[in-house]
Symmetry: C2
């Protein structure tokens, strides 16, 4: 069988003829990101043939120069009978940098956080004394432990995990009945999940997990103090199978074993993060007795191994919205196997537990008359609006444009990504800044927004996003009916090709911003309010950290309100999860909150299309909505 | 390493020098029974060296002739550096025959059995229709299934196994919401453990399991008719590790991994029986949704993997008496993994769930003024006495004499065992009958009782069990101060040695019968009743099937009452388990019954020693208690 050598790693594997280069890389355990979920549509899996012959089907997605230089699409190129050496460009497998979210919670209003007397995780450790065995009483070990628990905490049913029963006899007798139990208290029963000899109450931990479509963050908390020990983030391993939830769902449908593969991948990332975080503090994973997981509805389904197919099929009804408390071992989490995991409740197929958990970080969850707006800008934009009397939530498919998707040179916010662009009004040329000041490889979300804002402010594009072809500029290139804007010249790019954006792509960005803005406007109109009636707007999600507010208002993504009306709250899904981890009161609050939320399906709302169409201009067809907007 | 060849199987294995032959046989997966639990005390593990040299330590337990013929004790004989061939005599690994207990239930009073309207196993299958998904309702798949269940059976909490949630989306949609659920109903919640498309209610089974120290029986039941399909029995694989519960407990203590070994062994037997029984009816084990297990307290502990040590240590307090409903997968039973298993409640360390389940087969469990006695004669004798107002139970250590233990030529009731003996009054010679009319290899329980009864009736032994040495008989042999009775001559035995019983062994038998009789008498005296006040006496246990009543009364094992007062009920533990399997009403009845039972610890009862001492004669010191007794 032919050998495939991968550079720069030097890894060599043997594959069957006709294996795609993408599949070969997978077999070699090398990462090539495929945002489309190997649907063969994104054209991002570009690799370079160094030697040997292959069978490429480039289908016009690559420039002639690129093809000449040996670039091919890994998904569409197959190995022949002969050996081949290929290079995986660094940018295809490089990990990005993550916003430091560990301090996010300190910026929240203290009123929103659990009070010291609300520190009551679902499972607590208690040191108790169980009477010694006596012939007269005739009480078994289990009877005496049950009675001690009921005496201390009141008469409820006590459930024991088999593991506890198995260790009971020796543990009870090892220190004359002095034992520490890990116990879950619910409204109708106690559940004893662990037993240790003597007093071990100091060794108790919890982990909050935010499963994003792109990244996963976890936060380790020590009890009984509820002290946050650290926060770690990594890419969701599922990214290899598709960049957004729709591609993941499609990926899952393609072959029966893929649902399990997606579950394994998300568990791999989570368990890797858990094991990394416990090592930093020399903690045993078996002492993690509490866990709260928040994610969008698709992520939750994939974690639990539930078929996500019906999330994207009419009438868009998922298997679960409120998941039951589930044993860590049933999920596959690498913590104490009998720990019960709380999964933040979803409101609908497209408003998930990440949003309900995130709302805990906003005044919407508090007892107030003021109305607040909560926006989570990501691949899917999710919004909520409300106060003590009502909460409405909806999702709008902004598309992956703000995360670099659907744009030829779009990329994640990693090294070499253009994150900020200024346009020279005279020449129309771009002055750009890349992450880590590296050679430009592409453009990320904040770069895209500043680019469009800059082009619009300097009038190099008009309200509909069309490039001004009447003024001469080296930055503007015309191919037939389509005009492109060159951000980085062929010479300056790391890739041997100019980095550009075309009018269709600018249009996609306008669609994305219009989707979010119009969804906000529609929800407000339904309660007969305007943006000016909002007390504050929360911007959630990792994206918020890098967003330039002026640029966002300039393109009409966000409403034209004073800076102080906006509040970045960072990874609110993780923070809300931590609150629910620390306090069952907050789990209860989260459940009540989610049940109060009215889920609005924009696709069936007759007013939405009007609002959306009106927002398909820069900044908006109704200029009066953006009074402070001035062209430079 | 030296090779060990086993005959007649021809199996060859390589072992380390100094490995015992017993250990070598174990490694070769060959069975040598060791009633003492490899405590090196029973002297039963005799094998024959055919060729090669070994390092034996026979310590005088074998006759000179036997040693000359190459017989050694497998537990005390080690392999040296050289190869060796050994023969495992057939009798050491032969399986016995089991009483046919499949029809036992037909002999019970119909009043005791579940009525047709009481057929309500813990888990039932139901065919239901779940509404199709609708955008307007916003109800998840799980919500709609929950609502359908609550609508049909009332508003209780519904718990779902993760397996059900995982299959929910596709199963609900496969036949437009027509599904069959397997659901466990408890007082405070519903638990959905399985879901299938369409109507599958016909495919539902249950299994009742009686775990005896020596044998395990199972009964397969088909629902919804509650029809008994078949009954199978086999030796408890644990027998290899000790014949009685004390040797099993000792075995478990010797090395940490042995508790798991004992658990594996009992599960191996049970799962083997389950797989055998389902094959007979072409049933899938995954369709067994109900299970009831009854066994003595030690057997239950070993099945669940609980340390049994404290059962035999003062104050004799076990880990559990009433076990919680436990998932089959937590136990290791090869049935539907989420099936909840009901374990019959124990009353004390030595009155277990086999007795409480057995009592369901007696009038003691019914609403009656009449007083009944229930006796389970086995290695441990267990007794219960009572009516609607009171129930007392106790255990007496009869010792293994009635099962052939503690007697040099004692054996199980298998081929070649002497099961009946008549004594020629003149010559004192024995006329015996063996099982299957094979060459005599030893004597089993019923043989021992008929032997002692015969010797006593013909006055070859006196009331204290001493042999009459004043009359000449070829059957009596005197070795120093100890006299022995030859049952089978050297020539007639299959073993090349005479089969005999000595006075010490006869004394053991008298102790055993005295233990049981005096325990009955003591319990009666505590409620100021005599045997004559009993309405009936139930004889339970496999032993009862072979017991000759006249002989048992002659030796004073059973009280001198008319034949019609006695009722053999066979394997009442299995029958009671089946009743509880068929009907949760009977599980409830069993729990209530067990809570009503007063556990009497004979060892601390001051009156017991007097009663016991008085019973240490044939039939009793008080001859008036046995008025119908006449010497032949």
């Amino acid at each position: 069988m032919p050998l495939v050598t991968f550079q720069p790693s030097g890894k060599v594997i043997e594959v069957k003829p006709d294996t795609s280069l993408l599949e070969a890389a997978k077999q070699a355990d090398l990462e090539i990101s495929t945002p489309c979920g190997t649907n063969r549509t994104c054209g991002k899996c570009i690799v370079r043939i160094i030697s040997g012959s292959v069978d490429p089907k480039n289908e016009g997605l690559l420039s002639k120069k690129a093809i000449h230089d040996g670039y091919v699409h890994a998904c569409k190129t197959s190995v022949t009978q002969s050996p081949v050496t290929i290079e995986i460009p660094e940018s295809l497998k490089k990990k990005g940098q993550f916003a430091d979210t560990s301090k996010d919670m300190e910026h929240l209003s203290p009123d929103l956080l659990p009070k010291p007397w609300q520190i009551n995780p679902l499972t607590n450790k208690f040191h108790i004394h169980v009477p010694e065995p006596q012939a007269e009483s005739g009480l078994s070990d289990l009877d005496r432990l049950s009675q001690s628990i009921k005496k201390e905490w009141g008469n409820k049913k006590v459930i024991f995990s088999m593991e506890v029963i198995r260790r009971l006899a020796n543990t009870l007798r090892s220190q004359n009945g002095s034992v520490t139990i890990a116990m879950t208290q619910t409204t109708d029963h106690y559940r004893v999940i662990d037993i240790e000899p003597g007093n071990q109450t100091e060794k108790s931990y919890g982990v909050a997990i935010d499963i994003g479509t792109t990244t996963i963050s976890i936060q380790l908390v020590a009890f009984p103090e509820a002290e946050t020990l650290n926060t770690l983030t990594d890419y969701n391993e599922q990214v290899k199978c598709g960049i957004d939830i729709i591609s993941r769902i499609n990926y899952a449908q393609q072959r029966p074993e893929r649902l399990a593969e997606l579950r394994d991948k998300v568990l791999k990332t989570i368990n890797h993060l858990i094991n990394k975080t416990v090592k930093l503090h020399n903690i045993d994973t078996q002492k993690i007795y509490n866990c709260v997981v928040s994610g969008n509805t698709t992520m939750t389904h994939l974690l639990l191994g539930l078929n996500p197919e019906y999330i994207r099929l009419e009438p868009y009804i998922p298997t679960i919205l409120e998941a039951p408390l589930t044993m860590a071992s049933d999920i596959g989490l690498d913590i104490y196997p009998h720990a019960l995991t709380f999964i933040s409740p979803a409101v609908g197929s497209y408003v998930g537990g990440d949003i309900t958990a995130g709302l805990l970080c906003s005044e919407i969850a508090s007892d107030t008359d003021d109305v607040y707006l909560f926006i989570d800008i990501g691949t899917n934009g999710e919004l909520a609006i409300g106060n003590r009397d009502f909460i409405m939530a909806c999702a709008c498919s902004a598309g992956p444009a703000f995360e670099g998707g659907g744009i030829q040179f779009g990329m994640r916010a990693s090294k070499g990504a253009i994150e900020d662009v200024t346009i020279d009004a005279e020449t129309g040329l771009a002055i750009y800044k890349t992450i880590a000041n590296a050679k430009a490889e592409g453009i990320c979300g904040s770069g895209i927004i500043s680019l469009v804002a800059g082009l619009f402010q300097t009038e190099w594009i008009d309200s509909s996003g069309k490039l001004d072809q009447t003024r001469p500029s080296k930055a503007i290139q015309i191919n037939g009916r389509q005009a492109s804007y060159i951000i980085v010249s062929e010479e300056e790019s790391s890739f041997g090709k100019p980095i550009s954006i075309n009018e269709t792509e600018i249009e996609n960005i306008i669609r994305a911003k219009a989707a979010i803005y119009s969804a906000c406007a529609l929800m407000l109109s339904q309660v007969e309010l305007g943006f000016e009636d909002l007390k504050s707007i929360y911007i959630a999600g990792g994206f918020g950290h890098f967003l330039n507010l002026d640029n966002a208002i300039t393109i009409g993504l966000l409403p034209d309100l004073p800076q102080e009306k906006f509040q970045y709250i960072g990874n609110s899904s993780l923070m809300g999860s931590t609150m629910a981890l620390i306090s069952t009161d907050f789990q209860q609050k989260l459940l009540e909150l989610s049940r109060r939320i009215t889920y609005i399906d924009l696709s069936t709302d007759p007013g939405y299309m009007d609002q959306y169409t009106a927002a398909l201009f820069l900044p908006h067809t109704d200029a009066s909505l953006f009074p402070s907007f001035k062209k430079s």
